[in-house]
């Protein structure tokens, strides 16, 4: 058995232990990229081909139902020339130092895992294949590459008609220096890419075997249940007495880097009761008498104040000053071309509308939880359903003071992530509790805590004015979004264009707007906000596409034709056309029904939806059908993309119809699903999807798009536009049915 480390130009390292191992760094998307530089030179992914013919891909991304593991294995198998089903995928543990195949973390955010790793996986597969072929060439004493064919995990020497299994070549291949590149399978010969494959994780998700964070069981473990101050910004006034039968009541503080807005570092904002099982502990929490100090500004933490502040900032805000303090309430100019104010004022038709969006909770099916086994001075093992395993590792190092090699982070399956599990507040609490009780402990947030102590999708008020000339040209477009800053709450110093997350899908729109001005204002509300499936696009696409529809109506034009006439990007036009075709846009709609359309972009993909509705009343609307077209450049697993679009659309339906969180004295009001309705199967529309065929997968210059969050942004505006056609009423505020409740099963 040999061990050798040999970095190549592309950063592949072979390190043989019982076969061929290629280790490499997959690039990752970090939503806090403005805050944290990537860790250079870190290996985070391993491909191992063992002498027993097993092929293992050890990878640090998180699996939350989006199918990333399967997609990466699928891409790898293409160029490695193996059967996709033969690749074993292993969840990596994060490491900041290790070059051993324990894996590392890849932040699983931004619909990024497949799109950002496509080429790296292909190169890895191709380079490993060529190393194996070279080993076969050496073995056969024949250096003519054309005499060898790699397929089905074997290398065939054609002249001698010899078949050599990859496993038999792996040890010899490991001793070779990896080439800097290797030829990729031509698009025309794809066996896997672009073809629907079954997902690796599904079999254990139908029989109870899949282990989520909340399913971790350690011998001798105890259970902790969290109770936060009901009001954001509140802190513990005095240490509560430990209830009978309970082990401890552990105060938990906000650890640096985990608190947002009101939740400042060092504040003790929660207690965790520790007991023998979840239920008894939870009961003790319910009856625990805790006194809290409410923040001085608690009375201001309510919706009326948030709306009043937003209105004031729509009217007037202090512009950004380079190098200045730029406190919340600062106006950032995102893009400016010409003088839209003058152009609109001179236009025969002027439109002016304000769109309002609420705070929305994530409400993952699996509540926040984390399990920690802390052995003082020795080790700290963390099991977490996390989208940010490396951040968990760094947090554990910070809290425990231990070195990286004393800490093990085990990423479990996530019962939904939706952006919430990219945060680490719940992890920090579990580590604090484990250090206090010195027993393996699972900390869980009851559903009521999960709803009321979220880091919400930001609220927003967006004011848009636009002008039309007599020929239905848009003369000017002026757009101002006032919303709390996700990055600002994470300590990021915002540049002249404000929060990159807040302006997503608001700028550089390929519409012929004439003069345009896009502005973003940081709203001062300190209610914690965070990344929520599709982030800024969930706000901006609503405002943009509703106003486009209002312009179309003012011009007396059909919403589809109007957009088609104003769009300047052929890819957008194609997507719009395909959604319209799929949604039968040009066919008459059945009596009592209406259709709306919207288009937008997120994470390099373009998506359009046609929504068909009927039966609008004061309390409900029937969504009959949603037709969705997407251009994501390269579609690795079409069936997976379809599932993600369906899921994204349901996420958007829940938010558009019912989703909102409101606050009174800093306390969130909707505390469970009964107070924050979501659709059940009976309300599910028919969803049809169309994926624009690949423009050419082998072009590295192409920017591959994501799919996981893409169903979300265009649904709400398409719904609002259909609603206008059906009822004559413009829907400028979400949700459509605020305060809707839901009954039991």
């Amino acid at each position: 058995m040999t061990t050798q480390t040999q970095p190549s130009r592309r950063g592949f390292i072979t390190a043989a232990t019982g076969g061929l191992t290629l280790s490499f760094l997959l690039p990752e998307i970090n939503r806090l990229g403005e805050l944290q530089a990537a860790v250079p030179g870190t290996v985070n992914t391993w491909l191992q081909i063992a002498t027993d013919n097993t092929i293992t891909l050890t990878i640090g991304a998180s699996e939350m139902g989006q199918g990333s593991f399967s997609a990466l294995a699928q891409i790898l198998a293409e160029d490695l020339m193996v059967d996709y089903a033969k690749i074993r995928t292993v969840q990596a543990q994060p490491s900041v130092t290790s070059t051993r195949p324990v894996g590392a973390s890849i932040n699983t955010v931004g619909s990024s895992v497949t799109r950002t790793n496509f080429w790296k996986m292909r190169d890895a597969g191709a380079i490993a294949r060529e190393l194996l072929v070279q080993a076969a060439m050496n073995l056969k004493g024949d250096q003519t590459r054309a005499n060898f064919i790699a397929s089905n995990a074997t290398v065939k020497h054609v002249p001698s008609n010899t078949l050599l299994a990859y496993g038999s070549l792996a040890a010899a291949a490991a001793a070779l220096a990896p080439p800097s590149s290797a030829p990729l399978v031509p698009d025309s010969q794809f066996r896997l890419i672009g073809k629907t494959q079954t997902r690796i994780d599904i079999p254990e998700k139908v029989n109870g075997k899949a282990k989520y964070g909340i399913d971790i069981r350690i011998p001798g473990m105890v259970y902790a249940v969290i109770k936060h101050c009901p009001s954001f910004g509140g802190t513990l006034a005095s240490q509560p007495t430990t209830p009978r039968g309970m082990l401890a009541v552990v105060p938990t503080q906000v650890i640096a880097g985990t608190g947002r807005g009101t939740e400042v570092t060092g504040a003790v904002n929660a207690v965790a009761v520790v007991g023998p099982n979840t239920w008894d502990t939870w009961q003790a929490v319910k009856s625990l008498n805790v006194s809290w100090n409410l923040p001085a500004n608690a009375a201001n933490l309510n919706n009326a104040k948030f709306m009043a502040d937003a209105d004031a900032l729509l009217a007037s805000a202090t512009p950004y000053v380079a190098g200045g303090a730029n406190p919340p309430g600062t106006l950032y100019t995102v893009e400016s071309m010409g003088t839209p104010g003058t152009a609109i004022a001179a236009s025969p038709k002027k439109l002016d509308a304000t769109y309002t969006l609420p705070y929305v909770a994530h409400a993952c099916m699996e509540v926040l939880n984390c399990t920690v086994n802390y052995v003082p001075g020795i080790s700290c093992e963390v099991w977490a359903p996390t989208q940010s395993a490396r951040a968990v590792l760094q947090l554990a190092m910070l809290i425990t003071g231990m070195a990286a090699n004393q800490i093990v982070v085990r990423t479990t399956y996530l019962g939904g992530g939706l952006g919430r599990k990219a945060e680490t507040d719940f992890v920090s609490q579990a580590i604090q509790v484990a250090m206090a009780v010195r027993k393996p402990v699972m900390l869980m947030w009851p559903r009521e805590q999960d709803f009321t102590r979220d880091q919400y999708r930001p609220m927003a008020k967006v004011h848009v004015t636009a002008g039309l000339d007599a020929s239905a040209n848009i003369t000017g477009w002026s757009y101002r979004n006032v919303s709390p800053s996700i990055l600002g709450q994470r300590g990021s110093v915002l540049g002249p264009k404000g929060d990159s997350q807040g302006i997503e899908a608001a700028n550089a729109l390929p519409y012929n707007f004439g003069a345009r001005l896009t502005e973003w204002v940081s709203h001062p509300s300190p209610i914690p906000v965070g990344f929520w499936r599709s982030v800024g696009a969930s706000i901006n696409t609503f405002a943009v596409e509703c106003m486009i529809d209002e312009l179309a109506a003012a011009a007396g034009m059909d919403g589809y034709n109007f957009r088609r006439a104003k769009l300047t990007d052929p890819r957008w036009i194609r997507v719009l056309d395909e959604a319209a075709k799929l949604g039968n846009w040009t066919s008459p709609v059945s009596s009592g029904r209406a259709r709306g359309i919207a288009i937008g972009t997120a994470f390099n993909s373009i998506v359009a939806e046609v929504v068909e509705i009927s039966a609008a009343t004061a309390t409900g609307v029937k969504i009959n059908r949603v037709s969705c077209a997407i251009d994501c450049y390269v579609a690795v697993n079409p069936g997976g993309i379809q599932a993600q679009l369906q899921g994204g659309i349901v996420h958007a339906i829940n938010a558009a119809l019912y989703g909102q969180q409101t606050f009174v004295n800093g306390a969130a009001q909707a505390s469970n699903f009964n107070k924050s309705r979501m659709i059940r199967l009976q309300e599910m529309p028919q969803i049809d999807t169309f994926i624009i065929p690949n423009p050419g997968a082998a072009d590295r210059a192409l920017n591959i798009g994501g799919a996981g969050e893409l169903g979300v942004p265009t649904f709400a505006p398409a719904l609002a536009n259909a609603y206008f056609k059906l009822t004559g009423n413009r829907l400028r505020g979400l949700p459509l049915f605020p305060g809707a409740t839901m009954g039991g099963l």
Partner: protein, 146 residues
């Protein structure tokens, strides 16, 4: 303290509980250690905790463990030994789960509806479970096979 004699997936368990009204969900998950049955809402709204008790669908998050004494409890782990229940097969064939967290409850609901003699769309009218991932369309496709 009370000791409850429970039969779960054909096995007998003697479980010590602090209070006999501990919901069956937590007895199954924390005391017996079968974690396939999930906690979602705790108020009988989401259905993630659905199990069969003497063949009837029940929501374990609000079902007193003491009321299960003398009855046969079936969880997702006991639905079949090898994922061969028709609902499980249909779920794999239609690639239904995404995050999968709610699916134990959905499959147990479907299994209960099938046990009651329902098919296809009759089953679907019984499925009120919440799925935040939004797998409803594939649930429809899968149930159509049953």
């Amino acid at each position: 303290m009370a000791t409850l004699q429970l039969n779960v997936n054909g096995q007998n368990y003697a479980v010590n509980v602090s209070n006999p009204d501990m919901p069956l969900l937590w007895v199954i998950r924390d005391l017996i250690g079968l974690t396939g049955t999930k906690y979602g809402c705790g108020i009988e709204v989401c259905g993630a905790c659905t199990v069969l008790i003497d063949g009837q669908r029940e929501h374990a998050c609000v079902f007193d463990a003491s009321s299960a004494v003398g009855k046969k409890v079936v969880t997702i782990e006991g639905l079949s030994a090898d994922s061969s229940h028709p609902a499980q097969k249909a779920w794999v064939a239609n690639q239904v789960p995404q995050c999968g967290y709610c699916q134990s409850g959905v499959i147990m609901t479907v299994a209960g509806a099938m046990k009651a003699g329902h098919h296809g769309s009759e089953i679907l009218s019984e499925v009120k479970n919440l799925c935040v991932c939004g797998t409803y369309q594939r649930i429809r496709q899968a149930a159509a096979m049953l």
